[in-house]
């Protein structure tokens, strides 16, 4: 026992050598990061005591930044708009490694075995796989859908079998790339529909869906039966009705699956779509305050929280899933960009960019539990994402 403790002490001293303060040993299961969009920094936070533990600067352009976690939930992989991929150690709050891997990037994901971190890029369009340990480039798949023509990649999701699924905006296709042999990835292409703008995979990793901007409907690929190809669901949704201009593309990742129904943002409409996942047909529409951006289920599926595009981005609404009614409207600040639930959903953290704060709400009483200052906060990403498919 004594030896074990001494060993751990020596190890942590070794790791933290050079650090001004040596943090006490702790787990990372209640930790996370808050993106400070304008200053290119992340705040390291913990949600048990709802505190900020420190800040890690030097991460570049973090507009539309995405974060995914290493399999051990110790390291955050931060993808910046400027193509920067940074590996941040939550425990020491330091940059372990940083590479500029593309001209314009919007996110990435970690492989099923935890060994690869894959980035999705707008410019040059395609995906790139890196060694999750060293961030060395392992292989890449350019999104060249026709000779000399490259597409922006959206909606990348890791799925079982060392595969990644993603959609190509210009090409109108869904691609599935298998990294079983990491240096020789194999890609299968599926026609999907006009201008897929984002994608998501169901929590079990079975169904990949891509929202279509250029036409009504959602492209659905059953990864248990990919040979059947892409099926269009909610086809013709809203056809004939005049679309509202879309001021911000909705995000599908972090979407809501609750009680056998999927809750999805309707594009260009002040509505959340409710889809029956047995038949993939529309079950209902819930009228909300603006164009939804994030539609996120509390982990138990009883509530769905929605934020909105400009100019309604000061509101958050909560839908009760059995009754499909808006039960609460909150005003958490100016320019609400993101929400993140604690792993079991007792609380939700909400960022308000133009009010420079993050508000922590109790999801049962809707009371404010804490507010934390942050500089132009956008995404909030907790470490339990490390253990989830498609995050």
């Amino acid at each position: 026992m004594m030896g074990r403790m001494l060993g751990a002490g020596v190890l942590s001293l070794g790791l933290l050598a050079g650090c001004a303060q040596t943090p006490a040993l702790r787990g990372t299961g209640d930790m996370g990061v808050v993106i400070e969009r304008a200053t290119g920094a992340v705040q390291v936070v913990e949600h048990s005591g709802r505190t900020s533990l420190g800040s890690v600067p030097g991460l570049g352009d973090l507009s539309h930044a995405h974060v995914t976690y290493s399999r051990d939930a110790r390291y955050a992989f931060v993808f910046g708009r400027d193509g920067g991929l940074t590996k941040v150690d939550l425990l020491t709050q330091r940059i372990v490694k940083r590479v500029i891997q593309a001209g314009n990037s919007i996110g990435g994901s970690v492989s099923q075995d935890g060994r690869l971190v894959v980035a999705q890029n707008y410019q040059p369009g395609g995906i790139k796989a890196f060694d999750a340990e060293t961030l060395e480039l392992v292989s890449e798949v350019p999104a060249e859908y026709a000779p000399g023509q490259f597409s922006k990649v959206v909606g990348l999701a890791d799925v079982p079998g060392q595969k990644f699924v993603y959609a190509l905006f210009e090409a109108g296709e869904i691609w599935v790339t298998d990294f079983t042999d990491p240096r020789q990835p194999k890609t299968t292409r599926y026609p999907a529909g006009k201008q897929p703008y984002d994608g998501l995979v169901t929590p079990d990793g079975r169904y990949f869906m891509a929202g279509l901007f250029g036409e009504d409907g959602i492209a659905l690929l059953d990864l248990w039966h990919p040979e059947k190809g892409v099926r269009k669901i909610l086809d013709g949704y809203g056809r004939g009705e005049e679309k509202l201009p879309v001021y911000k593309m909705p995000h599908l990742r972090g979407w809501a699956m609750a009680g056998g129904f999927a809750f999805l943002p309707a594009i260009g409409r002040h509505e959340v779509l409710v889809v029956d996942t047995r038949t993939w047909t529309e079950a209902a529409r819930v009228a909300v305050k603006g164009q939804p951006v994030f539609v996120m289920a509390r982990p138990d599926g009883r509530q769905v929280w929605v934020n909105f595009a400009f100019p309604d981005n000061g509101w958050v609404q909560v839908i009760d899933t059995p009754t499909r009614e808006v039960v609460k409207t909150l005003a958490p600040g100016k320019a609400v960009l993101h929400m993140e639930f604690t792993p079991r959903g007792d609380e939700v953290w909400v960022s308000a960019r133009d009010d420079n704060k993050v508000t922590v709400f109790d999801t049962a009483s809707f009371e404010v539990r804490q507010t934390l200052p942050a500089t132009a906060p956008s995404g909030i990403f907790f470490s339990h994402r490390a253990a989830r498919i498609g995050f």
């Binding site: 969009r37 304008a38 200053t39 352009d61 507009s63 539309h64 708009r81 400027d82 001209g103 314009n104 919007i106 707008y122 410019q123 922006k152 905006f169 201008q195 703008y197 901007f213 250029g214 201009p245 879309v246 001021y247 911000k248 593309m249 400009f310 100019p311 320019a335 960019r353 133009d354 500089t375 132009a376």
Partner: protein, 120 residues
């Protein structure tokens, strides 16, 4: 009274600035300018990038825009481009404000105040 005098000086100065602006190209008031800068960086930035180097929408940098007629860019901002993801912003700004934005984009867009403070 001293207070009144300084107030007067302010009014005169402000009138002067307004007059110059009006003869040049109808500039929005300073507070509104800041709002517009913030809007372009943040809300246009969600598609064009906070640094305007492009995202789902193309880059809006001087080098990219220099050969394009300003009027047509202003029309794009106001009315959007049907069939693409570019929405029209007419509900949120006047024609003059769109002209001001396009002129700034073609020169190199000013950063938001917050960024100015933090840039080393």
């Amino acid at each position: 009274m001293a207070v009144d005098r300084s107030l007067w000086v302010h009014v005169v100065v402000l009138l002067g600035v307004a007059a110059v602006a009006a003869t040049a190209h109808a500039e929005p008031a300073t507070a509104r300018q800041q709002e517009l800068v913030n809007m372009v960086r943040q809300d246009c930035g969600s598609c064009h990038g906070l640094t305007l180097q492009g995202g789902l929408g193309p880059a809006l940098l001087p080098a990219v825009l220099k050969d394009k007629p300003a009027e047509s860019l202003v029309a794009t901002v106001m009315m959007g481009r049907p069939g693409t993801a570019m929405p029209g912003w007419a509900p949120f700004m006047s024609e003059q404000e769109a002209e001001w934005i396009v002129a700034r984009l073609m020169q190199g867009f000013p950063p938001v105040a917050q960024q100015l403070e933090s840039s080393k």
